[in-house]
Each structure stands twice: as structure tokens, then as C-alpha cells.
């Protein structure tokens, strides 16, 4: 599988001269689901936000499908095939579901057909088109957020903790849904706190600690790694390598 997204020596942070990420490297392969895990404050969400252009990058490169998109503006992502699903506030609550979808479908030449495809993929949304998005359950909100991200047929999706705040059952369903999306050819970079569930659905895993790469490998190997088990089951503090 070829790489669709490459992160090379990335340094980024919210305040100038105070990087949270230090020399982070990452490769996302075509059609794969790669998860980023790590303790609180490791820089997982910051990494995904830096790729999406929300957090300023001070060094390094972000390469999407062979094109350098370092420091891209978030509103320029969609035409390049990059979609971002924020952790919270990823839908527009006072708009109806149809209006949420219309926002992202607007510029597509085949928007009517694409809307039908999305509603066929996510039937619960089709039943509630005229409802305010704020009235949806947690799982359905994530479904809508994913549908909105998928609308423009991205090649890469960045997802920031889609299971946050959901019950274990719904969280598992959302992650299964995330997994199933790779069958459509989209590559997914997933940040998760729910380590076991994330490793269950992922192909590859990167562990960040204190803003640096700590470990990476196939998800099933990481899951059986004694150090990872110690960190997440034994509560040991992870330092930078």
C-alpha cells in the first residue's frame, strides 16, 4: 500500500516557540485505518489539528498524496481530499440534518446523487432530515459528522476521538462504522482515548508521549505489547524515548 499522508519532522504548538509536537513522523497508507494513542497531553489532538491547519506548524512537512500541504487553511482542505471531524462541535446543532449535509454538498456537481448515497449509507439520518441536529443522540451526531466529512469523497479523513462521551456500546458501534469506511477507499487517521477499541479496529498504531513518537507498529502487535499493557492497564507514566 502506498502512503497517502506523510508527516515529516513536525513541530507545532498553540504558542510560538513553545512546540507541543517535536519531530513527529507518521505515515498513513492507502485505505488503512491508523490510530494515534497516548496519555493525556501527549499531543494527539494537536497533531491532527496541525495537519488540518488549525494549530500552527513551526517546522516539518505534511504531504498529502505527494503534495506539500504544510500550513494549509482548514477551509482549503476539502478540495484537496482531506476531511477533518473535530472531537466536539462537529455538527451545527441549530441547523437541520438536511441543512448540515447541504452545507458540504453545495459545491458538488452531483450533490443530489451524493446526498442519496449518504442517506443510504446512514439510514437513521434519512429518517430525521428535518430535525435539528442538536436533537440527535450522541451516536447519531457522530454519524452525521462522519457523513458530512465523507460527503466530498475525501481520500483522507482525520478523526479526533469520535467515541468521546459515548456509552461503551455506542462507542464500539461508531468505531466499527469508522472501520467499515475504509472499504470505500478512504484512509483514516484516528485519535482515540479508547485504546483497546481503537486497536481492535485499526491496522496500524502510533503512540505519542510528550509530543514525540514513542512507538509504532501493526495494531495487533501493539495490543499485545507488554509495555503498552503496562502503560494503559498499569497506569505507568510514559516519558519521551
Amino acid at each position: 500500500m502506498s502512503a497517502v499522508l506523510q508527516i515529516e519532522g513536525l513541530e507545532a504548538g498553540y504558542v510560538r516557540d513553545l512546540p507541543i509536537l517535536r519531530q513527529v513522523n507518521l505515515t498513513l497508507k492507502q485505505g488503512s485505518l491508523t490510530t494515534i494513542i497516548g496519555p493525556n497531553g501527549a499531543g494527539k489532538s494537536t497533531l491532527i489539528k496541525a495537519i488540518a491547519g488549525i494549530v500552527p506548524i513551526s517546522a516539518g512537512r505534511v504531504v498529502l498524496n505527494g503534495r506539500d500541504i504544510t500550513g494549509i487553511r482548514p477551509d482549503e482542505m476539502a478540495p484537496l481530499g482531506l476531511a477533518y471531524v473535530p472531537q466536539t462541535d462537529n455538527i451545527f446543532r441549530t441547523l437541520t440534518i438536511a441543512q448540515n449535509l447541504a452545507l458540504v454538498l453545495r459545491r458538488l456537481p452531483d450533490r443530489a446523487a451524493r446526498l442519496r448515497e449518504l442517506l443510504d449509507t446512514f439510514p437513521p439520518l434519512a429518517e430525521k432530515l428535518d430535525d435539528r441536529a442538536g436533537a440527535l443522540s450522541g451516536g447519531q451526531r457522530q454519524m452525521l459528522a462522519v457523513a458530512m466529512a465523507l460527503a466530498t469523497r475525501p481520500t483522507v479523513m482525520l478523526m479526533d476521538e469520535p467515541s468521546a462521551g459515548l456509552s461503551p456500546k455506542i462507542a464500539a458501534e461508531v468505531l466499527d462504522l469508522t472501520r467499515s469506511l475504509t472499504a470505500t477507499g478512504v484512509s483514516i487517521l484516528l485519535v482515540e482515548q479508547n485504546v483497546k477499541q481503537a486497536l481492535r479496529v485499526a491496522d496500524h498504531c502510533y503512540i505519542l508521549a510528550e509530543g514525540r513518537n514513542r512507538l509504532d507498529g501493526p495494531a495487533d502487535q501493539i495490543l499485545s505489547d507488554p509495555e503498552v499493557a503496562a502503560i494503559y492497564l498499569g497506569g505507568r507514566r510514559v516519558g519521551a524515548a
Binding site: I54, P74, D75, M77, T96, Q99, A102
Partner: protein
């Protein structure tokens, strides 16, 4: 009877002018989430702009170009838009309360300029002598009052219909999306920076139109007309009527202006002599109480924002998915 009708026409004219300004604020706050604390500056830019362009020449005074009324009013609206564009470029990266403070500062600065730049604004004595549109042709004061009311209501209707079209269009959807969450709006390919500025300028031009009509009605403008209370009155109108609902904005304008007028009348008639000096202050307190009370007990206003319904047809024909009566 004529006196009563004349007074009601006067009341409705002022309420209509203020309703136009409230509609401008509703676009900014109700639909885009821009906390404009300096409404009076844009109202004033339209007022002074119209007066400078349409008023008669006076020695030692800038302006007085005596342009035709429609050109003067259009120019006043344009000046309000230019002021809003400059203010917007400087302040719109601020959020919520910070934007409110910055724009409130702009309004205070604007009032100070009008008070001190004698060569431009006439200073504290203001600008006067504006030829009211068609006044000479109509002649009769009573009939002219009714004519001007008709003019104001026509402008109000045009602004209302234009805004309804705007906010129910895809453009309006994007504005509401930005109001909710800019990061999410960016992540779905929208450019909030540009759209916030556009909404701010359009809303301020509508406030400028209200200011232009105000100055046409009174044929006079001074810094007294741009006191900060006007900003709070217009905010109270929107909060009471219902932010995000254009009908609510108009309803709020008429209700609050009615309450303001009635309270002024009641206080001047029934307050003890020793209190008469303070009746204005009591009215200010009443406006504050109304704003706080509504925010506590009915924050959505009397006419809350409506959910626009979608017509969804799962037909095979191309373009059969219709949202807001528009094929998406």
C-alpha cells in the same frame, strides 16, 4: 383625531426606522453571532453621511453637496458600509465579548468625533437644514407624516424581504454554521473570516439606512442622537423580539419603542416633581431590566428562531433533492 393619527404615525415612523436597524443587528448577531456593541456608530455613519451628501452648503462646513435624496441616502448607506469594513477588518478576529467591547469603543470614538470635529459634523450643534424628500411637493404636514411613514414601512418591508431571502439561502445556512462553530465551518470548506466581514458590513449598511431615514425624518442630527443608549435600545428590541427571527426583530422594535414611549409619558405625568430630573435615568434602568429579565426567563425571545423545513423528495430525477425550496 388628526392629532392622534399624526402622533401614531410619528410613533410608527420611529419604530419602523429602529426596526430596520434591529434587522441589521439581527443579521450580525442573530444569524452570524457577531456581538456588535457599537450599533450607534453605523447608524450614525449613515445619518451623518446622508446629511453631509444631501444637505445644503454652509460656510466653513465640509459637505453640503445638496445631492438628490436617493443619492444622498445611498451614499450614507455606503459610508456606513465603508466604516463597517474598516472596523470589521480591525476587530472581527475578536470573539464575543471582546468584539462587543471593541465595537462599543468604536461607537464612543465615533460620538466623540461627531462632538469635536466641527468642520465635518458641526460639533455639538449638529447638522441641520436637510431638505426632506418631497416635502415641498406634498406641503401638508399631516399628509407628509403619513407619506414618510409609508416610505419607512416600504424600506422596512424591502429590508425584511431581502433578509428573509438571504438567511434562507445557502449563504444564510453558512452564516448560521459560522455562528455555531467556526472550526467546524472551516473544516467543511467555509471561510468564516470573509463571511463574518460580509455579514458585518451588510448588517451595518442596514443600520446606516436606518440612520439615513432618521436624519431625513428629523432633518437634523447631532451627537445627542448617537448616545450609547440607542445601542442598548436596539439590543433590547432584538432580545425581546427574538434573535435569529426577522419577524421577532420587527416585533421587538415596536414593543420596546412602545414601552419606551409609554414609560416616558407615564414618568413625566406621574413621577413626583422631585423625581422629574431622573426620569431619563429610570428609563435607562428599565431597558436594562428588560434585557436581563428576557435573558433570564425567555432568552430565545418572543418569536424564537424558526427551523426552516426541508422538502425532501427521493425521486430519480436529477435535482430532486430540495432544501429550503432550493435544489441543492
Amino acid at each position: 383625531m388628526i392629532g392622534l393619527i399624526s402622533y401614531l404615525a410619528f410613533f410608527a415612523t420611529m419604530a419602523g426606522i429602529l426596526a430596520i436597524a434591529v434587522l441589521g443587528l439581527n443579521l450580525q448577531w442573530g444569524h452570524t453571532g457577531l456581538f456588535n456593541g457599537g450599533v450607534v456608530a453605523f447608524f450614525g455613519a449613515g445619518a451623518y453621511g446622508t446629511m453631509l451628501l444631501g444637505g445644503p452648503p454652509e460656510p466653513g462646513q465640509f459637505g453640503g453637496f445638496a445631492l438628490p435624496y436617493v443619492v444622498a441616502l445611498g451614499g450614507g448607506i455606503l459610508i456606513a458600509g465603508v466604516v463597517a469594513w474598516i472596523v470589521g477588518l480591525l476587530t472581527l478576529r475578536l470573539r464575543h465579548d471582546y468584539l462587543a467591547i471593541a465595537t462599543f469603543g468604536v461607537a464612543v470614538a465615533f460620538e466623540n468625533v461627531t462632538r469635536n470635529a466641527d468642520w465635518l459634523t458641526g460639533g455639538a450643534r449638529g447638522l441641520r437644514g436637510f431638505p426632506r424628500p418631497l416635502e415641498a411637493a406634498i406641503g401638508d404636514t399631516f399628509l407628509y407624516g403619513l407619506f414618510f411613514l409609508g416610505l419607512v414601512l416600504a424600506v422596512l418591508l424591502a429590508v425584511y424581504l431581502g433578509l428573509e431571502r438571504l438567511v434562507n439561502s445557502p449563504y444564510g445556512r453558512v452564516l448560521r454554521a459560522i455562528r455555531e462553530d467556526e472550526v467546524s465551518a472551516r473544516s467543511v470548506g467555509k471561510n468564516p473570516t470573509r463571511l463574518r466581514l460580509e455579514s458585518f458590513v451588510i448588517g451595518s449598511m442596514i443600520m446606516g439606512a436606518a440612520g439615513g431615514l432618521y436624519v431625513s425624518f428629523y432633518a437634523f442630527v447631532s451627537p445627542q442622537d448617537l448616545a450609547p443608549i440607542l445601542t442598548f435600545q436596539i439590543w433590547a428590541m432584538l432580545i425581546v423580539g427574538g434573535a435569529g427571527n426577522n419577524r421577532g426583530a420587527i416585533l421587538g422594535a415596536f414593543l420596546i419603542w412602545g414601552a419606551w414611549t409609554l414609560s416616558g409619558f407615564a414618568l413625566s405625568r406621574f413621577a413626583p416633581d422631585a423625581m422629574q430630573l431622573y426620569t431619563g435615568s429610570i428609563q435607562y434602568i428599565l431597558i436594562g431590566v428588560v434585557i436581563v429579565g428576557m435573558l433570564m426567563w425567555r432568552p430565545q425571545g418572543l418569536l424564537p428562531e424558526r427551523v426552516t423545513k426541508t422538502i425532501y423528495q427521493k425521486g430519480a430525477k436529477k435535482g430532486s433533492v430540495i432544501i429550503n425550496k432550493e435544489v441543492i
